[in-house]
Every structure is written in C-alpha cells, then in structure tokens.
C-alpha cells in the first residue's frame, strides 16, 4: 500500500516490511539459527564450554551469545522483524480486502462466472419465471446471502457465503503477535523460581532462577507431608506434596499437589518438580555387646552424646550422608558418629542404613547399627508467575481457529443463470471461490444435481 503524499523513505520502509520475501527470509533464518541451540547445550557453566570447545571458540561463541541464544539480541531481532513483517503485511492486505469483506451489497460480476470452468449446464422444459422461484429458494437455502438480478441474457440468481473466512489468515497473524506479546508480558511481569521446603516447615520466600536472588511471596507455604509411591518394578509412580497456604500465620488453603496438578494461589503457581531426603532429627541405635551378647536400643539426637550400656563408652551422632562411598562402592545412606571408649582415642563410625552388620568389621567390643529412624523429605517446588499466559492461550485458540478457516474454508459465490429459449430454458450453474476450488466445484455439481431432480419432479406433476 503506497500512501499518497508520504515520503519516499516511508514508502520504501513500508515496502520492505510488507514483502513476502522478507517473511520467507525471516522464517528460514529463524529455522536455521534455532538449530544451533539444540546442538549446543544452553546455559551450562563456562568451564564446561571451555572444555568442549577450547578457549578460542568459547570466546567467539560467548560474544555471539550462543550459550543463551534464544535470548540473544540477534535472535530477538529476528523475532521483532517477524512481528513487523506480520503486522505490516496484514495491514497492507487487510486495507485492500476490508472493502470486500465488509460490504452491505456484494457486487457480482456475471462475466467472471461465465468465464470459469467450474460450471454445469442443463436444459429444462420450463419457463424462466417458474424456474426463478425454484432457483432463488434453492439459493437462499444453501447460501447466507442471495439475490436475483436481470442481466443481458436473462436472469441471474447469485448466492454467496463465507465472506468472513477471508479474515482467517489475519486471525493466524494476530495469534502469532499475541503469542509473542504474551511472552513479553510474562518476561516483564512474571518470574520463575524454586524453593525447597522440608516436611513440616514453612517458607515465605523463594529463589529466582534468573539471578538466584531471594523473592518474597505475599503469603507463606507449609509442606505438611511429602510422599513418593513406586510401581512394583521400582519406577516412581507419584510424587505428592501436601501444601498449606498461610496468610498472617492462618491456614487459608490446602492442596495435595502432584506432577501435572499444581497449586495456584493469587497468581502464583507451585509445581511439584523435585524432592530429596533430609537427615532425620534423631535415630534409634542397636547396640550388641560382644561380652554379654545383650542387645540394647538407644535413641540419639544429632550432635548429642549418649552413654552406652555395659560401660562401652560414649557415642556422638555427627552427620548423615546419602550415597556414601566406601572403598569405591556406593553403600547408600549412612550415619556418621564418634565412639569414645574409656580413655582411648575416638573412633569414627560409619553406620550404613542398608547394612546392619557393617560395624562388625571394626572388631570392637560392641556392634552398632541403625535400628530405625524417621525418613524426612523435602519437596522441591517450581514457583512461577506469568500474567501473560492468558494472552498466549487466546493466541493458541485463535491460531487453531484461524488455520482451520484459512486452510479449509473459503469465500464461495455461485451463480445460476437462466436463459429462456421458447418453451425451454437453459440453466447454467457456475461458481467461484477465493481458494479451495475443489469445494466450490463440488457445490456447483450438487446444486446442478438438485435442480435437475427438482425440475424433473415438477414435470411429472
């Protein structure tokens, strides 16, 4: 669309952005450059990149933002180009088709219908006047708009439908703009963070993924319980956290969340994303004395020192480690403690949960093992806020609807031309469409067939 009286510069810029060549270029450029980020892992640590590519290429890639390329200026620039292209193209073409779409009295061009190859003709033994009534009611039944006109060779009955489907392609374009707008709103006013909450504990803030800073929530979240269930094969079946939302210390909302079923509260979403084990607060020990063969049970709290029976000394519980390595073997969760017998030097004890006889190897006066403890979990939550998500979802709906309309519907116009020749009449049905010619051809055949049947029936009467 060239604007009269506007500057040549404006016109050339407008032409640049309204060209489909630009569309093809930008789409292919986005496709090709997007490949990079799928081959080079994104947002890994610099050390890993240096190891993989060497110092020289690391620097080049770093300058080009290859390690976070989907947020790099040049990638964003391509997206902005696409948006400008879409908007300008749409405005450019919509101003032209606007008059076609929003018209009160559509104009039908007889010669266009006469020229098309999509037509069917039949000759019937009836007068034009009676046929006109039959045809116009048939048109009215099949098309949202129909009108009868007198033309040079007789009468034409026009009908059309799907004028609005010309808007389909603009709907798709609008949807793309909405998706990007929604993404922009999300990145400006939303956040993505995470928080780990131990069972029984309450948090009021989370950590942001972008810069690892602490972000206060306007409410508190307590994890009442965390549970994993397994299939018989040992595969995890479900991770479930019972969460309670507190406002000013008062519980206001409670929900069990699982993967795929988050908690949403005041625009903030909490997703089940990971879990982990925590050292228990206390454990129960089995103590088997070699001298007497007696077994004792004793409870010990972390950091506390307890007196062992039969004068076997004192035991201090120091630490808990998961995936402990012993002579190159992973022996799982272990408790670490210190045994002090009489005036001897303190001995470090390793008490694996899975191997109760492990301490026998020490060949001491007693064998200590972990009898029981309460496993404590923490739940790992992904915390997000994205006020742009509804804009994106509207974009999604518009995209599906728009694609469907654009690809599979069309603006169809049909014309039934009736010419009288004595007692006979010649009927020609023809159709045109802005796209999907196959459909209009079918419609022409169907209307012609219906007319054939209708006129034959009336003859019998």
């Amino acid at each position: 669309m060239k604007k009269e009286g506007s500057s040549p510069l404006y016109n050339s810029i407008w032409q640049f952005f309204s060209s489909v060549k630009l569309t093809v270029f930008v789409l292919l450029a986005l496709a090709v450059t997007s490949i990079i980020g799928t081959l080079i892992p994104q947002n890994a640590s610099p050390a890993e990149y240096v190891r993989a590519f060497g110092e020289f290429y690391y620097r080049i890639f770093f300058v080009l933002d290859i390690f976070d390329m989907y947020h790099a200026w040049w990638f964003q620039l391509l997206i902005i180009l696409l948006v400008f292209n879409i908007v300008v193209c749409s405005i450019d073409r919509l101003t032209a088709t606007w008059k076609i779409i929003f018209v009160k009295e559509p104009v039908f061009n007889v010669s266009r219908f006469r020229r098309t190859s999509d037509q069917e003709s039949l000759t019937v033994q009836q007068e034009a006047k009676t046929l006109e009534a039959v045809c116009s009611s048939l048109m009215a039944k099949n098309f949202s708009y129909s009108r009868t006109e007198t033309v040079d060779r007789g009468i034409c009955i026009f009908g059309e439908k799907g004028r609005w489907t010309r808007l389909g392609v603009y709907t798709v374009h609008l949807s793309v703009v909405l998706l990007l707008l929604g993404g922009l709103i999300g990145s400006m006013f939303g956040f993505e963070g995470f928080v780990n909450i131990a069972e029984g504990e309450t948090v009021g803030s989370i950590r942001l993924r972008s810069n690892n800073s602490v972000y206060p929530l306007h409410f508190e979240v307590r994890c009442d319980d965390f549970n994993i269930t397994f299939y018989d094969s040992g595969m995890p079946s479900e991770y479930r956290s019972r969460l309670t939302v507190l406002e000013k210390g008062q519980p206001v909302y409670q929900k069990d969340i699982i993967v795929n079923d988050p908690l949403r509260y005041r625009g903030i979403n909490l997703f089940q994303s990971s879990y982990g084990t925590l050292p228990p607060r206390q454990i129960t020990l089995n103590i088997e004395s070699n001298a007497s063969g007696m077994r004792y049970r004793k409870t010990v709290v972390f950091g506390q020192t307890i007196e062992l029976p039969e004068n076997l000394g004192t035991f201090t519980l120091n630490d808990f480690q998961s995936a402990y390595t012993f002579r190159g073997q992973n022996i799982g969760d272990v408790f670490l403690g210190t045994l002090l017998q009489n005036s001897n030097t303190p001995v470090s004890l390793v008490l694996p949960v899975r191997f109760p006889v492990f301490d026998k190897m020490r060949k001491g006066d007693a064998v200590l093992s972990v009898a029981e403890y309460q496993q404590r979990y923490y739940t790992g939550l992904q915390v997000t806020k994205d006020p742009g998500v509804w804009v994106v979802y509207i974009g999604f709906i518009l995209m599906i609807a728009g694609c469907f309309v654009t690809f599979f519907m069309s603006h169809q116009s049909l014309c039934i031309e009736i010419q009288s020749a004595g007692s006979e009449s010649r009927i020609t049905v023809s159709g045109v469409a802005n796209k999907n010619k196959l459909a209009v051809m079918k419609k022409v055949k169907k209307i012609a067939e219906t007319l054939r049947q209708l006129t034959e029936n009336s003859e019998i009467q």
Partner: protein, 281 residues
C-alpha cells in the same frame, strides 16, 4: 494372542501391501493393486486391533494408560495414521500409484518398531510427568501432523521423479498421477499437517504449563518442532503469496519432512525433557 504378535503380523502385512502396490505398478496388474488395497485394509485392521489390545493389556497389568507413551507405541500409532490417511486419499482420488511410496513408509515405521533391538516393546507404567489428560491430545495430534507430512514427502518425491521425465518416455513414471494433482495433493497434505502440528505444539505447550509452569522452554524437541513449523510456514507463504509451485514446493516439503524426522528421533541424541520418547538404554 497378544498385541505384540498382532503387530508383528501387521508388519508383514504392510510389507506385503508395499510389495503388491509396487508389483502392480511395475507390471501394470490392476488386480494386484486391488489386492494391495485389500492388504492395506487388513493391515489397518491388525494395526487398530494391536493398539486396542495393547491398551486393554495395560489395564490388565494394572498400569492402564493409552498406548502412546514411548517410542515403540508412537511408531505403531505413526504407521496407523499413515495408513488411515493413505486409504482416505486412495478413496478420494481413486489413484493407487501413491501407495507405492506411502505404504513402504508405514511398513518401515512398524518394522523399525517391531524389529529394532534398541526399541523396547514391553508395556511400562507411566512416569509421573506423563500422567496427564494432555498425553493423548498431544501425541495424537502431533502424529497426525507427522503422518500428513510423511505422505506429503512421498508425493513430493513422486513429483520430482515425474518432473524429470517431461515427455513421458518412461512408462512407469507415466502412471503416476498428473504433476498438477501431485502438486495439489502435496499442498493439501501440508495444510492438513500444519494444522495438526500447530495443535500438537499448542497442546504440548499447555501441558508443559500445567506440569512445569512454563509453556515454552526451548527444550531441543520443542525447538525442533518449531523449526519444522517454520519450514512448513515458509512453504505455505511461498506458495500462496509468491506463487511457488511444483519443484520448489516439493523440495521444501522434503526438507520439512527431514525436520519432522529430526524432531521425532533427535531425543536420542540431544538432551532434553522428552526423554521418555527415546530408545531404552
């Protein structure tokens, strides 16, 4: 009788179908083409039965879920969609030569699923992340899209072969549908595939938003589906706005299908969130 056996038999039926279509084309035996069509219908029946039975079996194992949860199941569904779409095209366009290229694709997909030692065909329980109503919508729509693109790819190949021989000197190629028909069919299939790929990406995004709290994360598979989308969007714009036809459209459709294959199988080589679709290690 279990689903694995039925699907193995179906593989051979598809192999026979492909053989019969090619035989009918090379030796110009219309009867063989009718047989091929019958074989395709039998294969379709077996494929359908296999999918349903596998679904039932998963419930008998108390881990009931739609059979769309791993590479094996997706390949089985992929060949099913290809055959359904193909049978529809054959019915609509009354031309059986397209079968010579489409039925081997269905055969290869199912043969790869059934015979490859890297693909585990055991029915496994669903991981927590896959337990969602979006699973069926996402996988089904994606694979309808992939199947349409696969058929568009086959037709584009036929177009290029036929175009190489403009004076119809090769009697084999002269039995392909007219260039115009092949061109139009490619376009139709691409539009159909594009709609379903869009819905597939969208349902995946909505699912990701309910599982992980973000609708887009530039995960390699996500990105590749978008690359595929870009390629086909280019094709559609070039055709509708720049009037590209024939050879260039056929080439773009072939490139597009390359992107589809990469989207489908790249999870084996690239790290990401879609690892459940990968081969079992």
């Amino acid at each position: 009788m279990n689903s694995s056996i039925i699907l193995s038999v179906t593989t051979f039926v598809y192999g026979l179908t492909a053989f019969l279509y090619i035989f009918a084309w090379v030796f110009r035996k219309p009867f063989s083409a009718r047989l091929a069509n019958a074989a395709a219908l039998v294969g379709f029946g077996g494929n359908t039965l296999g999918i349903i039975l596998r679904w039932v079996e998963s419930y008998q194992l108390n881990i009931g879920h739609a059979p769309l949860s791993n590479l094996y199941e997706s390949l089985v569904f992929f060949s099913w969609t290809i055959i359904v779409l193909y049978l529809f095209i054959e019915l609509k366009y009354k031309n059986r030569t397209i079968g010579i290229i489409v039925s081997p694709i269905a055969f290869l997909a199912l043969a790869y699923a059934s015979l490859s030692p890297n693909i585990n065909d055991a029915i496994q329980p669903l991981l927590p992340a896959l337990k969602s109503n979006w699973l069926i919508a996402h996988v089904v729509t994606c694979f309808i899209g992939y199947a349409a693109f696969a058929i568009a790819f086959g037709i584009s190949l036929m177009y290029l072969v036929k175009q190489k021989d403009p004076d119809q000197s090769n009697s084999l190629v002269s039995h392909f549908p007219a260039l115009q028909v092949l061109d139009e069919l490619t376009h139709q299939m691409v539009m159909f595939g594009f709609l379903f790929l869009s819905i597939g990406i969208i349902t995946g995004a909505v699912w990701a938003n309910s599982a992980w709290g973000r609708y887009w994360g530039w995960d390699p598979k996500e990105t590749w589906s978008l690359i595929t989308w870009f390629v086909y969007a280019t094709l559609l714009h070039a055709r509708l706005m720049r009037g590209w036809h024939g050879r260039r459209i056929a080439l773009l459709s072939i490139i597009g299908f390359g992107a589809v294959l990469f989207t489908y199988f790249s999870v084996n080589y690239l790290p990401g969130l879609h690892s459940y679709g990968a081969m079992s290690k």
